[in-house]
Each structure stands twice: as C-alpha cells, then as structure tokens.
C-alpha cells in the first residue's frame, strides 16, 4: 500500500525568505501523480502544484516549485519570497488508481507560519 510521510509538523519562515517542506512516499507503481495542497485556516483546500511521475522536469507555479526525486521517492515543496498569505497547512498527496477509481492518499500535513 502507498504511504505519504511529512516529517515536519510545523515550519516557520520569515517573510520574503524561502522555505522547503518535505514529503516522502512509498509505492511500487511507476506512473503516478503527486500533489501539494494548501489549506488556509477556516478556508477551502486548494491545489498548489502537481507533478507527473514520468516527467523528469520539476513542476513550477510562480513562487512554488518542487524537487521531485523519483528514485528517492521524495517530493519537497519550495516556497520562494514567502508572503503572509502563504501561512496554512500544506498537505502532500499521492494519487493511486485502485478498485477502478483514483484515490488520493494524504500526508499528515505541515503547518507553515510566516513571520512578519
């Protein structure tokens, strides 16, 4: 069974600085998708970035980028030029196809605090 591990329950970053959130996963599949989701306090969870496993190039979305190391099964999220609005819970997720449908397996989350 696939698992997703986020070993950092909480991280802090100074405004305008860069922070990296860690995520590792375990799978025997060769083709899959990985995601980072952001859940602001009392607000809707939204997709930050996604990575297709067969693509070697790391995904980038504005200030957000990933470091995808397929062999190491590592999928970290880098946030550059951190802003106060980046404060949220961040969840790493793995998408698997099982029992005829896609299922998403989430990590335990990392709470990011942005210091002014």
């Amino acid at each position: 069974a696939q698992t997703v591990t986020q070993s950092q329950p909480e991280m802090s970053v100074q405004e305008a600085e860069t922070v990296t959130l860690s995520c590792t996963y375990d799978t025997s599949e060769s083709d899959y998708y990985l995601f980072w989701y952001k859940q602001p306090p009392s607000r809707q969870m939204i997709l930050v970035i996604r990575q297709e496993a067969y693509k070697q190039q790391n995904a980038t979305e504005n200030r957000f980028s990933v470091n995808f190391q397929k062999a190491a099964k590592s999928f970290s999220l880098k946030i550059s030029d951190s802003q106060l609005g980046d404060a949220a819970m961040y969840f790493c997720a793995y998408r698997t196809f099982t029992s005829g449908t896609y299922k998403y397996i989430f990590g335990t989350g990392t709470r990011l605090k942005v210091l002014a």
């Binding site: 998708y33 995601f35 989701y37 607000r43 809707q44 969870m45 939204i46 997709l47 996604r50 297709e52 819970m89 969840f91 997720a93 998408r95 029992s99 005829g100 449908t101 896609y102 299922k103 998403y104 989430f106 990590g107 335990t108 989350g109 709470r111």
Partner: protein
C-alpha cells in the same frame, strides 16, 4: 475557486440525531469523495463515487452512508450521531488530474 459547495458549514447537534451533510458541485464531475479530517490532521477517505448510482466505502471505516442519485449531488448521512463523529467533513470532486474541495462541514456532536 472551484464550484463545490457544502452545507451546513458548522453544525452542533445532540447525540442520537440523524443528520445529512450536503455536497454539490456544478462542474459535472463524475468522481466525488468524502473525507474526514480532525483539526490539523490528515484527510481520511470515507466514501467515494464513480458516478450516478455508484458508491463505495473508503479506507477509513465510517458509520455514515452516502447516495448519488444525481451527478451534482453527493450527500452524507449519519443515522444516529455520536460524539465520536465530531470532526470536519470535506467533500471533493475530481476532474482529470485535479481534485477540487468544498469548504467543509465542521460537525460537533454533544
């Protein structure tokens, strides 16, 4: 933000009551999901649906039931609420490679 709605947003109810948490989406997505999430914790899949008249239990055992009579509607029902059901319930739908989440229902059972 995606067009996926959940009502009520907050619910406080007594033990033994029957409740239905509503979830609807206007995007025409076939695949829909219910997750249970305790505060600050990971999401656990409790139900999912491929499409109309298709529902399956998720990985986390739940005493709730779901139905999918219409594509846009995926309600979750608890026949007899208990304090152990206190949690946040998130509804989601999926299209291609993206999962869209509703705002969640925070349920407290006294």
């Amino acid at each position: 933000e995606a067009d996926i709605y959940q009502t009520p947003r907050y619910l406080v109810i007594g033990t033994g009551k029957k409740i239905t948490l509503e979830c609807s989406q206007t995007m025409g997505h076939d695949k829909m999901y219910w997750y249970q999430q305790d505060p600050g914790m990971e999401l656990h899949l409790i139900h999912y649906s491929y499409g109309v008249n298709s529902t399956e239990k998720g990985d986390l055992s739940s005493e709730s039931t779901v139905s999918r009579i219409r594509t846009e509607h995926f309600p979750l029902t608890l026949e007899s609420a208990r304090p152990s059901h206190t949690s946040q319930y998130l509804c989601a739908s999926t299209y291609f490679n993206e999962q869209f989440f509703g705002p969640g229902t925070r349920l407290t059972v006294l």
